[in-house]
């Protein structure tokens, strides 16, 4: 995995290769049933409430913690192409109403098959530096509101 930060551009870049054809990787990233199986790093689970994978459609999901706590995120797909899609994500309530206290995070995902493997590039862009800092302060992950200590414990 390649993990790069460009704080000047307020961007993070993650690249990872998967031993699977692009069709399968695409399904894993775009079908709610599959996303729910891997998006939430243990012990967090992702539970999709609504998924409409098309431009202007949305993915409304909760990250469910070990004690049953739910942190909701609303992702709106802004572009869907061949092996690429974009969305913007905000923290929300269970109805997808944005929580204005937190910044919008912009995601750009591209997939490319190379032989029998698929390379996925993820670009995560933040609204502003202050927004990035707020996310840091709360132990960021989109849809993820646990404190740094908890996260650290989880990751060991």
């Amino acid at each position: 995995m390649i993990f790069e930060k460009d704080l000047e551009k307020k961007q993070l870049h993650v690249m990872r290769e998967f031993k699977a054809p692009v069709e399968k990787v695409w399904r894993a990233w775009t079908e709610a049933e599959q996303l729910d199986k891997w998006w939430g790093p243990k012990p967090w689970n992702t539970e999709t409430k609504a998924m409409d994978f098309k431009p202007n459609g949305r993915w409304l999901y909760a990250m469910v913690g070990p004690a049953g706590e739910r942190n909701w995120s609303n992702a709106v797909f802004t572009a869907v192409g061949t092996n690429t899609f974009d969305y913007k994500c905000t923290f929300s309530d269970e109805n997808g109403v944005t929580n204005p206290d937190f910044p919008t995070v912009y995601w750009h995902i591209t997939m490319e098959q190379r032989g029998d493997k698929t390379v996925v590039n993820v670009d995560v862009r933040f609204d502003d530096i202050a927004g990035l800092e707020r996310l840091v302060a709360m132990g960021f992950q989109t849809g993820f509101t646990m404190g740094l200590n908890q996260l650290e414990e989880l990751l060991g």
Partner: protein, 101 residues
Amino acid sequence: MRHDIFQAIADPTRRAILTLLAIGAMTPNAIAGHFGSSRQAVSKHIQVLAECGAVDQKQSGREIYYQLNLEKMKEIDHWMELFRKLWELRFEQLDKLLDTL
């Protein structure tokens, strides 16, 4: 403008200053000597770094020295490391899922 640690590292000159100070404390004049820009410009960057808490100053005789505030700088690395680990975990789960698709 609000000054926080991310503001501190958002500028290339400031990042270069932080790299210099990673070796050891320096006076403003010594720092300025490393850059082509004016002393005034460099001193403005140092001021921003101080306001962000990225550097501390200490007095030694008649000179003021600037040094890195390591605790503050760790905040960034620490968080980035957590973020990286989180993606690793997530992708391991995805590897397993892909085997079943």
